[in-house]
């Protein structure tokens, strides 16, 4: 009896081992593809980042020089400052607005809410190139924004938005807010509807008002969604390229230059492939760190 029992166990275990190998075998092709199109280029970029290379002729090993230039080159350094500003506009502002609107929308259920949500989500579906072109028009010297300002008598506020050293970066940032706001809102609305109604009832029994209810029930319940929203929007801010490229090319001066634009210029306009690879590696590392940190924090009890 006991021997037959062990036999079954052994057989079951070997069966399990066999299925594991079958599984791995099935995954081998996709894994191989992944290695070929993601891991190999990743490793190559990492390798290039230690060289000075024009993309064609022989390269020279420069060690960490390309990385050191993040510290020594004021223009390159400033790109990360610009990204911090963009994170405010791409991540923090839309999340705050998204939370607020989600709280308002889920409290009072009105007919036609789906349409409302759909309208705000629309920017997320549109191609960035289209959005950038539309906003370039809006921010133009004689564009709708300045016309509107003049129409209400605020002539002194009318500016060459994208050509202004102070305003170009915030103007770009607001485009990002417009794009990511709807996404955050939809994410938070779906998150709120997943929170057990009993929790709200309990809170109300304890005499919590709408504000208290929001901070005590809704906000903790949305932790997972917040983590997703933060990760996606912060990495989007870090990777900002098309918006800047189409609207300002990094100008005026270098006041809207982002790491991704600097990378593109180094890789495809000026033959500095090593520097471009180093920028890419740093951006990838920062995205990874941000994702890991946010996941850790949101999963902590």
């Amino acid at each position: 009896m006991s021997t037959s029992a062990t036999k079954t166990v052994v057989r079951r275990r070997s069966l399990r081992r066999r299925t594991r190998w079958v599984g791995l075998g099935c995954a081998a092709l996709p894994l191989g593809m992944y290695a070929l199109v993601v891991l190999v280029p990743l490793a190559q970029s990492f390798q290039y980042s230690f060289f000075k290379w024009d993309g064609v002729t022989a390269s020279t090993w420069v060690g960490f020089d390309n990385y050191v230039s993040f510290v020594t080159d004021p223009v390159l350094r400033s790109t990360f400052g610009h990204v911090l500003v963009l994170i405010g506009f791409f991540a923090l502002l839309p999340i705050a607005l998204g939370l607020l609107s989600a709280a308002l929308l889920t409290r009072a259920k009105q007919p036609g809410m789906a349409v409302f949500r759909w309208i705000f989500f629309l920017p997320q579906v549109m191609t960035t190139v289209v959005i950038a072109l539309v906003f370039k028009r809006i921010y133009a010297p004689d564009g709708p924004l300045n016309q509107a300002l003049r129409a209400v008598g605020l002539d002194s506020f009318a500016k060459t938005w994208l050509g202004d050293f102070t305003w170009a970066l915030p103007a770009l940032g607001l485009i990002g807010t417009w794009v990511t706001f709807g996404f955050c809102m939809v994410l938070f609305i779906s998150g709120t509807s997943a929170i057990a109604p009993e929790l709200y009832e309990a809170a109300r029994m304890d005499g919590a008002g709408p504000v208290r209810e929001f901070f005590a029930v809704t906000l903790p319940g949305l932790r997972g969604q917040m983590a997703v929203a933060l990760t996606l929007t912060i990495t989007a801010a870090l990777r900002t390229f098309d918006l800047v490229w189409i609207t300002t090319h990094g100008g005026p001066g270098t006041s809207t230059l982002t790491p991704a634009v600097a990378l593109y210029k180094a890789a495809f306009q000026n033959p500095q492939v090593g520097l471009a690879a180093a920028i890419g590696v740093v951006m990838a590392a920062m995205c990874l760190v941000i994702a890991v940190v946010i996941t850790r924090i949101s999963e902590r009890d």
């Binding site: 190999v40 290379w53 002729t57 133009a140 100008g251 306009q269």
Partner: protein, 448 residues
């Protein structure tokens, strides 16, 4: 968990082997030798098919089709198989195409270090010295144009040494366009000097017109480079751009040019809000009738046949009065692939592209001819007549200077971004000139 570890191990070993492997780009350092025996006898070459890649569309595309058809008629044994690619696409992939055995025999590269210099240094294009001798290019082509195609064989200097590309019987210049109707109604003659131009601009401004249609949003630098050519010494400016370290930006009129550009801005000679106007909008505004003058590359306004009668073009003489100097280059540098099996035939085609026939074929399609002083522009086209006259004058004065951004790969970014700073009053002209030197000197330091 075990799977994760396995992937980690694979990735780690991959990274390690890649890092330890030979450095990137070291596979293509073999220098192309200049062919020792060359033949100019195309008919004797037998049946030859050449692959030809360029970026020309529109009128330029029609022109090159005509040139190819004429060449094939002259030499029925030769077939030229043309492909055309978008400019940006060709520019970013040409080095890969030339490394491929099935790549083009002849292609349009870009002058300067970024494209041509890198291709020559990498041994991807043929050293054309033997052909230059056989066809007499040194006599046929003005020195200031020839230099644009030359690199020293140690690839430390541009603008002297061996021929690695050829120009063509066409050119692209920076000069001054004027709206002829507006000048007439303002009672101003087309300017014949910088002083004339300043007087005309002041008069236009007083009459409520915008003297110069310009937008700086995407850092357009034509106005600066156009003005610089009027103020700088021709030889020094050429030498500066070809990286002669002893010549400094202050020696080539940079400070004077940027000062004048800023002065015009302060005088309100550019449109209101020009800092928020991008290049395309400025061009559209000018062609749509806004502004009196515009500094522009020839061919970039896209004037149709009717509009060409209403816009004129002048290449102003130097402020010092010593001849005419203008920014100009062939719209593409013709290269022969080091992998081509028929370099003799390819070189014969390049020579044909510099002939007077191709110049006339260009002007027939509204393009600016060069190297062909007898090319006749239609009298109805005011702009093309002016452009052709300008090119003929620069050919005879040997007065070309290359585009300033050839001096270093990052120069266009540097002058573009710093021009915006100067226009916004955030940088002085002196500092601008310093920044230009700093950019070039940094490039020179890493070249040696």
């Amino acid at each position: 968990m075990r799977v994760h570890k396995a992937i980690g191990a694979v990735a780690a070993s991959l990274i390690f082997s890649m890092l330890a492997a030979c450095s990137p780009g070291s596979g293509s350092t073999d220098k192309a030798e200049t062919p020792s025996t060359v033949s100019t006898d195309v008919a004797a070459a037998g049946t030859v098919t050449l692959k030809f890649t360029d970026f020309w569309g529109g009128a330029e595309g029609e022109w090159i089709k005509q040139v190819i058809a004429d060449f094939q008629k002259k030499y029925p044994n030769v077939t030229i198989d043309r492909t055309t690619e978008d400019w940006g696409q060709l520019n970013s992939t040409l080095n890969l195409q030339l490394q491929d055995d099935g790549g083009p025999d002849i292609a349009t590269a870009n002058n300067g270090w970024q494209s041509l210099g890198t291709l020559a240094k990498g041994g991807l294009v043929v050293n054309l010295d033997a052909y230059a001798k056989a066809y007499g290019w040194d006599k046929k082509v003005p020195t200031t144009i020839a230099r644009q195609n030359q690199f020293s064989t140690d690839f430390k200097t541009m603008g002297s040494g061996s021929w690695f590309s050829t120009p063509m019987a066409r050119t692209s210049l920076i000069g001054l366009y004027y709206n002829a109707d507006k000048l007439k109604s303002l009672g101003i003659n087309p300017p014949a000097s910088l002083a004339d131009l300043e007087a005309a601009a002041a008069k236009a401004k007083a009459a409520g017109e915008v003297p110069f249609e310009y937008g700086s949003l995407d850092s357009s630098t034509t106005v600066l480079l156009g003005v610089q050519a009027l103020l700088a010494d021709k030889k020094k400016l050429n030498d500066y751009i070809y990286d002669t370290p002893s010549v400094k930006a202050a020696d080539v009129g940079m400070t004077e040019a940027i000062t004048l550009v800023k002065k015009w801005a302060d005088a309100g000679y550019y449109p209101k809000n020009y800092q928020g106007i991008d290049y395309q909008t400025a061009v559209a505004n000018y062609v749509g009738g806004k502004g009196v003058f515009r500094w522009e590359y020839t061919g970039s306004l896209g004037l149709n046949a009717a509009q060409q009668g209403h816009y004129g073009y002048v290449q102003l003489p130097q402020a010092s009065g010593s001849g005419t100097v203008g920014v100009g280059a062939a719209p593409g540098a013709m290269v022969v692939s080091a992998k081509s099996k028929h370099p003799d035939v390819a070189a014969a085609f390049l020579d044909y592209m510099m002939s007077a026939e191709t110049g006339q074929a260009a002007v027939d399609r509204g393009l600016v001819p060069a190297l062909s002083p007898d090319a006749k522009a239609p009298a109805s086209s005011l702009s093309l007549t002016g452009e052709s006259a300008a090119a003929a004058k620069l050919d005879s004065d040997d007065g070309y200077v290359p585009y300033f951004d050839w001096s270093s790969p990052t120069m266009l970014d540097t002058i573009g971004a710093n021009l915006q700073l100067v226009l916004a009053g955030k940088m002085t002209p002196d500092k601008f000139t310093e920044a230009v030197d700093k950019d070039r000197d940094a490039f020179l330091a890493q070249q040696s």
